[in-house]
Amino acid sequence: MILSVKDLTVSFATDGGVVRAVEGVSFSIDKGEILAIVGESGSGKSVTAQTILGLTRAPNASITGSVEFDGRDLTQLDDEALREVRGKRIAMIFQDPMTSLNPVYRVGEQIVEMIRAHQKVDKKEARESAVDLLRSVGIPNPERRVHDYPHEFSGGMRQRVMIAMALALDPDVLIADEPTTALDVTVQAQILRLLDKLNRERGLAVILITHDLGVVAEVADRVAVMYAGQIVEDATLDDLFYDPQHPYTWGLLGSLARLDQPRPIRLAQIAGSPPSLLNPPTGCRFAARCPHEFDKCSEPPPLHGDRCWLDPADKRRLRDVDGHIGLRKDVAS
């Protein structure tokens, strides 16, 4: 266990009231593991990821729970101590490689800046490492490209630069916050393969934040599904796809476009929208959209495993929609 998040709650004071963006989130990741956190926009997955590195710290933010890493609770570290962890032990890449690099500095300078923030090396040495890093993530002509500005790279190449930078100090954990969302599908596959390769070759633990179950299926070992600020299900990749426990997961799987089935007239969707996080329901947060809701759902759901009150045997029956996993349209329980 290299990193362990326990009962993490992040809320922000806004003009409209306190938004509880993340509530009671717990998960952990082992060395060499790829954990995917999936969820739709606003489900709290990015806030969770950024809170690990303290990037959500702000005067209006309140953070409780713990992030245990290397025997320390990162949420309790002061900025100076956290700075030592950022980049060096836990590195992060972001969704939009177009805006995540500073447009006015050469990519080499930005990698050098990262190295020199943590290691006492001279600029020349750091630049040589930058060239090696760019080469290792598959950027052609790194000796020349190291002098180019971010706008002279394509989206996929910029994400490779971000990854090269993240790897500069050989971190233990890489947090990838929607790393492929802004990229073309063909480029997405290349970036995922690169992450997979780094994970296998370096034993790098990867926390992959995504809304794309296709991406999850491609590389993840384990999956945590987030909904309305909570993790509703945490399972291995196989279990998630073949034995999902939470109706929200059924809905996600049911809404996938599949090539191995006759083409539906319309893709399935989950009716309704997530609850406001200003004033979330005390019971199951998915209940209002769930066709299988019953009395018990108004009580806070169990914290271990999946957050659903249904009996496992009932689940197996209820999630079957025409022989495949999905969420039924009408209340049939």
Binding site: R83, A91, T99, S100, N102, P103, V104, E113, A117, Y149
Partner: protein, 320 residues
């Protein structure tokens, strides 16, 4: 680069041409501006007025008059109607004082604006920011002539900390030069310090939310370095544009009030006197001189821009 230079040169010529035409026309339509009448005196008879008019070439068509004036400008023979002095020489004589005033004030206003804007942004919403905000608004609102008068009255006349007025050339005595210019520098800089620090503050607050600042933070760079290398550096780009425009404008006539109140014998004071006597040649000369500086600094800023923001290449459209 060559295409850029050529295009810029053409643009400059077009702007200067347009300005000269407008100034000339305005002068010809405002009432009571007939130089012949003024020069001939209050009780002159019509013949005298007619003779003066013929001497000055004012009896010719307006187009001919304009062309003559342009020819004089380009040959450096433009002379004042009122004093018969050569306009070019007068501007040249006033230039050291005006540049001393403007460059000094510009250094002061940029330095203070960066410091105040930076502090304001870093402490946004806190006491420092609120105080600086109020000071900035005061600085923007205070009229230059009032501020100049107040400074002169209290610091020069009452407390006698600073000399009352006039200009000592730098070549004559650098110490006295600076000493005499302190109050004018402050007077001229106050407005810009207030304005620029507000603009810088809001730029910095915008840039702080940029993704690349989050990246920098995730890299483990110190907060101080993030603010200076990433936030301030990127926030300065629009400030440089403003500076180019304003500095050109200040050299080209924006310092009229300051020069007048402090009795600095510069281009501004010369322009002020020409306005007082409705003397077209010096007005035209000073206006063209000012316009030239504004256009020039605009071009300088565009070149500088390409260095500050590598996404911009001269002679190409900026990327979306």
């Amino acid at each position: 680069m060559l295409r850029f230079a050529v295009r810029r040169l053409f643009g400059m010529a077009a702007v200067l041409f347009a300005i000269s035409v407008i100034v000339f026309l305005i002068f010809n339509v405002i009432p009571n501006s007939d130089p012949a009448q003024r020069i001939a005196g209050k009780n002159a008879n019509p013949e005298l007025i007619a003779r003066v008019r013929a001497d000055l070439g004012l009896d010719q068509s307006i187009v001919t008059q304009y062309l003559t004036m342009m020819k004089q400008i380009f040959t450096g023979t433009l002379t004042s109607y009122a004093s018969s002095q050569n306009v070019g020489e007068q501007i040249w004589k006033g230039l050291p004082a005006t540049l001393s005033l403007c460059i000094g004030a510009a250094v002061l206003w940029m330095a203070l604006a960066v410091v105040f804007g930076y502090l304001s942004a870093v402490h946004a919403g806190k006491f420092t920011d609120r105080t600086l905000t109020i000071l900035a608004l005061v600085g923007i609102s205070v009229p230059v002539f009032w501020l100049a008068a107040i400074l002169l009255y209290y610091l020069s006349f009452k407390a006698q900390i600073f000399p009352t007025s006039s200009y000592v050339p730098l070549t004559k005595n650098p110490g006295q030069w600076a000493y005499h210019l302190v109050l004018p520098w402050i007077t001229l800089a106050v407005l810009f310090v207030g304005f620029y620090s507000r603009v810088l503050r809001s730029n910095m607050l915008d840039v702080m939310n940029e993704d690349y600042v989050r990246t920098a933070r995730a890299k483990g760079i110190s907060e101080r370095q993030i603010r200076i290398k990433h936030v301030l550096r990127n926030s300065m780009i629009p400030i440089i544009t403003l500076f180019g425009l304003d500095f050109g404008a200040v050299v080209g006539g924006g310092a009229i009030l300051t020069e007048t109140v402090f009795n600095i014998n510069g281009v501004g004071l010369y322009a002020g006197q020409a306005i007082g006597s409705l003397d077209l040649p010096p007005l035209m000369g000073v206006t063209m001189f000012g316009a030239f500086f504004i256009v020039l600094f605009n071009t300088v800023v565009d070149v500088l821009y390409a260095f500050l923001d590598p996404r911009i290449r001269l002679g190409e459209a900026a990327p979306a």
